[in-house]
């Protein structure tokens, strides 16, 4: 028997069928439920004496385009502490000043005078369409006091010396002694407010500066963290006047949940390098996503003319 014609016909048939566009790039029919369903997102960073509020949102699964925003105004929410449960009600929608990127619904206790109390634990529970998310945190009693010193480093940038600017970096080094049973998680932040030269009035808003997370890296029983406050560029021949500024240094006592969330937040949302390994955003919310955590802080302010 001559097999060749049969063989060639079969080959050609299969080969032609393979040439359809859908063969090389096709939709995957079976995907898990997690890609189709929306989950509850809880977010709250709680400091002592602040009003008891949490923000709620929902995830937008990639394969459900019927969800057009993240708001979740019709959830059932409560918060528990010391064996008591306080119902929370929807208060407002929260969006950022640049548009609608932050789309969370703010919930507050019915008794609007309630504040978070230092040293107490809180558990928030939210349910929506048969789904339940819970998260717990403890409000730290306080953050340690710190001292600081200011240093600067001046250097000239590379390239043609005729045009290269002289750069001066100003640094603040914060030092503090850990508290008893310190788990070593801190966040150091700096911010600045310029004074307008024309009016001599301080700018209302802060310009946020350097921030550093620390995780149990104390040396000789003390913590020491250096943050950059500002970097000034002085170009050859420039007569630009230096600006008067007010700086604020903050030392936040945080817990592991806060630390892990902050550590993963920026790399998760920043997608500049297509070859970078994906970063999972930390969540301490059971049955959902997000972060519910407490913190305490101390701050100091000073004025400077660089």
């Amino acid at each position: 028997m001559n097999y060749k014609p049969i063989f060639l016909v079969l080959c050609s048939g299969f080969f032609l069928s393979a040439c359809s566009e859908d063969f090389f790039d096709q939709e995957v029919a079976k995907v898990p439920a997690s890609l189709k369903e929306s989950d509850i997102v809880i977010q709250a960073f709680c400091a002592k004496d602040s009003l008891i509020k949490v923000q709620l949102g929902r995830t937008k699964p990639f394969s459900d385009q019927s969800i057009t925003d993240f708001f979740l105004p019709d959830a059932v929410v409560s918060i528990e502490s010391n064996g008591l449960s306080y119902p929370m009600v929807y208060k407002e929608q929260k969006s950022d000043t640049y548009g609608s990127r932050i789309q969370q619904s703010v919930y507050q206790t019915v008794d609007t005078s309630l504040h978070f109390v230092a040293g107490q634990s809180y558990t928030v529970k939210a349910s929506f369409k048969g789904k339940m998310a819970t998260a717990s945190c403890m409000i730290p009693v306080g953050a340690p006091a710190f001292t600081y010193t200011i240093d600067s480093v001046t250097y000239r940038e590379g390239g043609d010396p005729q045009y290269a600017p002289e750069v001066t970096s100003y640094y603040a080094t914060l030092r503090w002694t850990p508290q008893a049973h310190d788990d070593g998680y801190y966040l150091v932040q700096s911010a600045s407010q310029p004074k307008y030269q024309s009016s001599g009035i301080w700018n209302k808003g802060y310009y946020t500066g350097d921030r550093l997370l620390t995780a149990a890296d104390q040396v000789n029983g003390r913590y020491e963290v250096t943050v950059e406050l500002e970097r000034n560029y002085s170009y050859p021949g420039s007569t630009e006047q230096r600006q008067e500024e007010r700086f604020k240094l903050l030392l936040l006592k945080i817990n592991q949940d806060f630390y892990l969330f902050s550590k993963t937040y920026l790399p998760n949302t920043y997608h500049g390098d297509p070859f970078a390994e994906p970063v999972n955003l930390y969540s301490n919310v059971k049955g959902g996503y997000g972060i519910f955590t407490g913190f305490a802080y101390t701050d100091q302010e000073f004025e400077a003319i660089w």
Binding site: E21, S38, R58, P61, F70, L281
Partner: protein
């Protein structure tokens, strides 16, 4: 060192105590009749005494039998060759060279029942493949491929579609020691892994060791792929020329001095660039090609001395450029391996065989860009390289029929050049000429004894002491190895093994294996050596009359200090020279080390008789990893964790002229991390008791690392070889079909738009990219 000396002392004392009666020694070489090619793993057996041995990697054997005046029957056999039986008189030591005829010259395959079978060897987790077995397996574009044939064996998994990566018992592709005539090959891939660097025409034998590692091997955690090149025909000149769809190849071998020395040279080159040159416009050039060149010379200097010189050179090159009146630009991307091995075999006595090897191996990746505009020139050259110089000496000491001792030492000087950058600009004052070079020294000494305790029990015990020095940090680690076999019946045995391995070189690689940018770096103070322990147990049953052998093995492997990129890290800008104290982010800052464990069972049935041969392999396995810095410290499934992996390989001689080959593979889907959705979350910035917010954006929810499974992979390949005898030799035409039932197998997944009739609906769905549909191929080969 203390452990090693104690073991050596123990082995020697046991052996000497058992060697009281002075025996007669039969020693020599087993060769292929006609070509004089040494045969590896041939069995020399005395049935009356139940004494036998296998030839070593150079075809050498040494068997001791009691002295006597009665003739003894000696059989010599190896699969694929006609066995011979010969009467010998054990009255004095004798050196005998034995020649076996290949079954290719016979009408059918003969299987000899006296051959040392799987159930008789102490070594476990080891599979040998002959060049013919590799040639019988249908392949992508008809290009026969050693590595892809190894992927069809149980316990070995491939990576993504078309990839040449090997994942052995849960280990990564960087954990395989691939050696070609003793020389390590650092990047065994052509064309991003779609083809491997080994040209099947020049290969004599391939051995894969997955566990129970013999003490002579070290330096990698998961497997050893030991590839031996052919020596070349010592009697006649002959050759082979093959033409395929994407590449052509040629091999020529023959005697330099008949019966005493020989040569073999083989080459392969693709010709995609030839076709692209036809369609590119004038003044523009663009293309890709790869080539391989193997050469080997061997000399029989005396009855006791042999010399082998072998080398491999292969390169991939992408190029593009244009030329106009006043300007031109050329860009090249190239990578390749070069190896050279000089080996000297010396027989000190009938009982002591030595091999001394001097080896050099090199892997270089480079980018070259040259441009010229109105006589102003720009040149950029970037290379990264690893270059090794190795000296190694191995001794096979055939103490007596109960003890075969192997002793050896190896030392390798690694020269790492992670970056050599030259930028020359004719119109600028400052050019760049930067080169970072540093060295590492890796060494090992080993001793092992293959001890046949009695007819039923065999133990191979050994130890290796490995050490490594680089960048001011030294490591020294003992690696105990033991394997044992107990024969329940003549053809049924149980085996067990335990091995520890250390790996002092790390491969920095992004998620996809096979990229030429992968960079080998040494263990340092901060990134410590990888370490594994593997325990395996199995049962082997031979059916000599029917040609079957079946085995089942279970294994559990613990891996420590395995390497992975940290979350958010990228392989860009790795600079291993800046490891400490510079403030520049080095590779050490981008990687993290953790633990892994892999366990499972492998079932393997091999059939080799008459017209049909092939195998069925099934693997049930689990591979998990745990890194403190990944997945929040939670254990997760490795990317190539594969629950079920099946391979069916068969080759059937339809008629004297036609052979039909089939391969069917099935693998559970790979574990991947897939974006599940988004959430709107903010990062806090505190300025007063009320919180305001510093940064916001849509966060991506990935869920559990590697928590999503791709579709299962399965594929059928068919090949039909037609051979015709001509006056001048043999002509073979092969028609093959890759992916015969046109399965759309997943290459990768992404979140993309839903489309209906080619139009996007605006909805997001999970989409699958497939690389290869059904691919028919034809190749033509002449052998003279």
């Amino acid at each position: 060192m203390k452990h090693l000396l104690s073991l050596l002392l123990l082995i020697t004392s046991i052996a000497l105590a058992e060697a009281q009666n002075k025996p007669v020694i039969f020693s020599g070489y087993v060769k292929e009749s006609g070509s004089g090619e040494n045969l590896i793993g041939a069995t020399v057996f005395f049935p009356a005494l139940k004494v036998g041995i296998s030839t070593n990697a150079y075809g050498f054997y040494s068997v001791s039998v009691p002295a006597g005046t009665d003739s003894l029957l000696m059989t010599v056999s190896i699969i694929g060759y006609k066995s011979i039986q010969q009467k010998v008189l054990p009255d004095k030591n004798q050196t005998m060279t034995i020649s076996l005829s290949s079954n290719a010259l016979l009408k059918e395959v003969v299987v000899d029942a006296t051959a040392i079978r799987e159930s008789k060897t102490t070594q476990m987790s080891t599979i040998d493949l002959s060049a013919q077995e590799i040639k019988n397996v249908p392949a992508l574009f008809g290009e026969k491929d050693v590595i892809k044939t190894l992927q069809l064996l149980p316990g070995v998994q491939k990576g993504s579609e078309g990839s040449s990566g090997l994942y052995v018992r849960g280990g990564g592709p960087d954990q395989n020691l691939i050696i070609l005539d003793d020389a390590p090959v650092y990047n065994a891939n052509h064309l991003f892994g779609f083809f491997s660097t080994f040209n099947g025409d020049a290969i004599k034998n391939v051995q894969l060791v997955k566990g129970g590692f013999p003490a002579q091997y070290g330096g990698r955690l998961s497997s050893v792929v030991d590839i031996s090149l052919k020596d070349g025909d010592k009697e006649h000149i002959h050759g082979e020329v093959g033409i395929g769809l994407i590449a052509s190849r040629a091999v020529l071998e023959g005697p330099i001095k008949k019966g005493k020395s020989s040569f073999i040279i083989s080459g392969r080159r693709t010709y995609v660039d030839v076709f692209t040159a036809l369609v590119t416009p004038k003044g523009v050039s663009a293309g890709y090609y790869f080539y391989d060149l193997n050469a080997k010379l061997n000399f029989e200097l005396s009855a006791k001395d042999r010399l082998y010189i072998s080398g491999y050179f292969g390169q991939d090159k992408f190029y593009a450029g244009f030329k106009e009146d006043s300007s031109k630009n050329t860009a090249k991307l190239y990578w390749g391996n070069a190896t050279g091995t000089l080996r000297w075999n010396h027989k000190f006595s009938d009982k002591l065989f030595s091999n001394l090897s001097a080896i050099t191996t090199d892997y270089t990746f480079g980018v070259l860009n040259e441009s010229e505009f109105n006589n102003e020139k720009f040149r950029l050259s970037y290379t990264s390289q690893i270059h090794d110089y190795t000296l190694k000496n191995d001794f096979d000491w055939y103490l007596n029929n109960k003890h075969q001792v192997k002793i050896g030492a190896i030392g390798t000087l690694h020269r790492f050049t992670p970056e050599a950058l030259v930028v020359q600009i004719s119109f600028a004052d400052q050019n760049i000429n930067r080169k970072n070079i540093f060295y590492g020294f890796e060494s090992g000494v080993y001793v092992s004894d293959d001890w046949k305790v009695n007819d039923r029990l065999g133990i191979n015990m050994g130890a290796r002491l490995s050490s490594f020095v680089a960048k001011g940090k030294a490591y020294m680690r003992p690696e105990p190895r033991i394997s044992g076999r107990y024969s329940i019946r003549e053809t049924l045995s149980v085996k067990a093994s335990y091995a520890e391995m250390n790996q002092y070189l790390h491969l920095l690689s992004n998620s996809t294996p096979g990229l030429p940018t992968d960079l080998w770096v040494p263990a340092t103070k901060k990134v410590v050596p990888q370490f594994s322990r593997q325990l395996a147990a199995g049962i082997t049953k031979d059916f000599p009359e029917s040609g079957f052998s079946a085995s089942y093995e279970m294994y559990y492997k613990w891996m420590n200090n395995i390497l992975a990129y940290k979350e958010g890290a990228s392989f860009f800008e790795d600079d291993p020279s800046e490891a400490e104290g510079s403030g520049i982010q080095s590779f050490e800052d981008k990687v993290t080390q953790g633990k892994g464990r892999s366990y499972g069972g492998e079932f393997f049935v091999k059939y080799n008789k008459k017209k049909f041969n092939g195998w069925i392999g099934y693997t049930l396995s689990w591979t998990k990893q745990q890194f403190d810095d990944l997945n929040f410290g939670r254990e997760y499934y490795a990317k190539y964790d594969r629950r079920h992996d099946i391979s069916v390989v068969g080759s059937y001689q339809i008629s004297p002229r036609r052979r039909l080959s089939l391969t069917w593979v099935y693998g559970s889907g790979n574990a991947i991390t897939l974006e599940q959705g988004t959430a709107s979350l903010e990062e806090p910035f505190v300025l007063s008791t009320n919180t305001s917010f510093y940064s916001s954006g849509n966060s991506i929810i990935y869920g559990e690392k590697n928590g999503f499974r791709m579709r299962a992979y399965h594929r059928l390949d068919i090949g039909l070889q037609t051979t015709k005898k001509k006056k001048w030799g043999l002509q073979t035409t092969e028609i093959s079909i890759y992916n015969a039932y046109n399965r759309a197998n997943p290459f990768f997944y992404y979140i993309g738009d839903k489309t209906v009739n080619g139009q996007s609906t605006g909805e997001s769905v999970v989409r699958q990219i497939t690389l290869f549909p059904i691919i028919p191929a034809i190749s033509y080969c002449i052998k003279f």
